[in-house]
Amino acid sequence: MVEPVKTRPDWNSLPDAAGHFGPYGGRFVAETLMAPLEELRQAYEQYLKDPEFLAEFDRDLQYYVGRPSPLYHAERWSRELGGAQIHLKREDLNHTGAHKINNTIGQALLARRMGKKRVIAETGAGPHGVATATVAARFGMECVVYMGAEDIKRQSINVYRMRLLGAEVIPVESGSRTLKDALNEAMRDWVTNIDTTFYIIGTVAGPHPYPVMVRDFQSVIGREARAQCLAQTGRLPDALVACVGGGSNAIGLFYPFLGDSAVAIYGVEAAGDGIRTGHHAAPLCAGRPGVLHGNRTYLMMDNDGQIIETHSISAGLDYPGVGPEHAWLKDNGRANYVSITDDEALDAFHALTRIEGIIPALESSHALAYAARLAQTMDKDRNIVVSLSGRGDKDIHTVAAREGIKV
């Protein structure tokens, strides 16, 4: 029998059973991790269909995280820009101040059911580490967070926050001493302590099933935004904008809209000092496919296949790879990937703070900067939904230092 030709891709059919999004994703790890990853995949697929698990997840999202997060019409800023209406999906209002907690709750609930008493995590800017330490405290689990020594310097308040929550924060001195090296070190811990330990990866990268699992936990962002936009504006948005480091807030927002072909999708990478300078963190815009951290995806690398150092003012975007589903969405054209420089992000950071009274994370400021530019090309009766993935309190020292101000 001949299969009927599909007129458009079935967005919900991916990844395949082995975790592939087209040529991307998969499971590229040393043999020791293959069986534990398979065990994790089976547990995840089992609980994904378990009404009790899902009800507990929903309950925690409602009463512990504070969901649903509002979709806020930034009326004054939209008016000032003079174009489309900008609506902010307020993930910054979640408990712990960013979208990361959606995923750490999901994975911690899974860890409990799998009988794991110890959780580990990597963190860049700190929000994923804080979110992991938070759920570990709540569930009485031992928690170890790996963080690049460079990032520890940039984010000392988050380090202290994690320690207050009872987590052990281990500085990573290898490689470029940033997020990618923290991920390497967390993997090394996991391979050594597999029997007792659950590795809570914070983004939609890593070996299968992490990209799909984290996407599923984060897609509450898009499901809510879709319903809220319909309720508040009477129709679907014309465009979605989210920042992309590893890409978890972005895929969380995008995924429930993938089948809505009229909704344009923009993922915003960090252009750092500018794509042309080479000092950036924009693998989708300026990298090429390769294999790192357990999956095939776009990477920042040199001609010999060595991963190169990235640069962004925002520690959370300072990562040389990106989730494999984004790689696939780029290749098939469903989503557009663009970039915003440090300076442009800072302008947006100030604009939102002064005009709407909301201090955004520097990561989210990249999405805001692009949304502002996009809005000005669109009519006033159009709507853009932007993921305000986190709050900017953690970044005020970075911003002050950049501007020569002593806090």
Binding site: A30, T32, S174, I194, G290, D304, G305
Partner: protein, 269 residues
């Protein structure tokens, strides 16, 4: 028959076990790698494992991570590693050479280009740490087309189904990771190695090497009683690291360490 297969066949006939030392290519400096390989052979190495430096060696402990960093400070690329093997081959046509590294440098070069260049340089086997057989179809085809042996890892966590699948894809020998952890870890458990090796032998006739966590002659001899080959990595790389800038005696010290292991292995065989 491949150089690896011949080597193991000869050893088996002689009732001997293989000693496989590891060196990260370019550590501590590119010009020292080939002389070090020759020193290893002179000290009784049967196969040499040459590490291809990578920026993100996820399966390696701190000692080999730092070796990678030292080599990368000299910009030692995969192409450069192949040049070193070619140079080694000028004076040694017999000792099998296995490349050990990560997938991305190989992907960046392209599977077919890499396999051709590796075979021409005189490489015999390729162990790519982060590609399981499930993902390795195209790479396997490229390697075997050039007569290169794909080497795979087996871990304490490998299930019986995986043992069979890996054995079916592997050639040359199988590399059993003796512990849950990274290279150079400290908790080698001989009893668990013994029972897992019995299980592996039930799935394959390939020779089995054991590595990760073998530090001295005593451990090498104990493992050699159960396995066909003993792989020693971090313990040798540590000698390079400890020598620091004074590189004059590295080859001699590593040679002495290997000679001791060789004697202990042969005495126990």
């Amino acid at each position: 028959m491949s150089r690896l297969a011949e080597c193991f066949k000869r050893l088996r006939a002689e009732g001997k076990k293989a000693l496989i030392p590891y060196v990260t290519a370019g550590d501590p400096a590119p010009e020292l790698t080939v002389p070090l390989m020759h020193a290893m052979t002179a000290a009784g190495a049967d196969v040499i494992e040459v590490g291809v430096p990578f920026s993100d060696p996820m399966a390696d402990g701190p000692v080999i991570q730092r070796a990678s960093e030292r080599a990368l400070a000299h910009h030692v690329s995969l192409r450069r590693v192949l040049e070193m093997v070619r140079e080694f081959r000028r004076d040694d046509a017999a000792t099998p050479v296995v490349l050990m590294g990560y997938l991305n440098p190989v992907e960046a070069m392209g599977y077919a280009t890499f396999a051709r260049a590796a075979a021409e340089a005189g490489v015999d086997g390729v162990l790519t740490v982060d590609i399981p057989p499930e993902e390795a179809g195209d790479l396997l085809a490229a390697l075997t087309a050039q007569g290169l042996d794909p080497i795979f890892l087996i871990a304490p966590t490998s299930t019986p189904e995986r043992l069979r699948a890996i054995s079916a894809s592997a050639r040359g020998f199988l590399y059993y990771v003796s512990l849950k952890g990274v290279t150079g870890a400290a908790h080698l458990d001989l009893e668990s190695v013994r029972s897992k090796l019995a299980e592996i032998r039930g799935c394959t006739d390939l020779p089995i090497g054991v590595g990760f966590g073998i530090r001295d002659a005593t451990a090498a001899a104990a493992v050699a009683k159960m396995a066909d080959a003993v792989v020693v990595g971090s313990a040798l790389v540590k000698i390079i690291e400890d020598a620091g800038a004074d590189t004059r005696n590295i080859a001699a010290v590593i040679g002495d360490r290997l000679t001791g292991m060789r004697r202990a292995i042969d005495a126990g065989a």
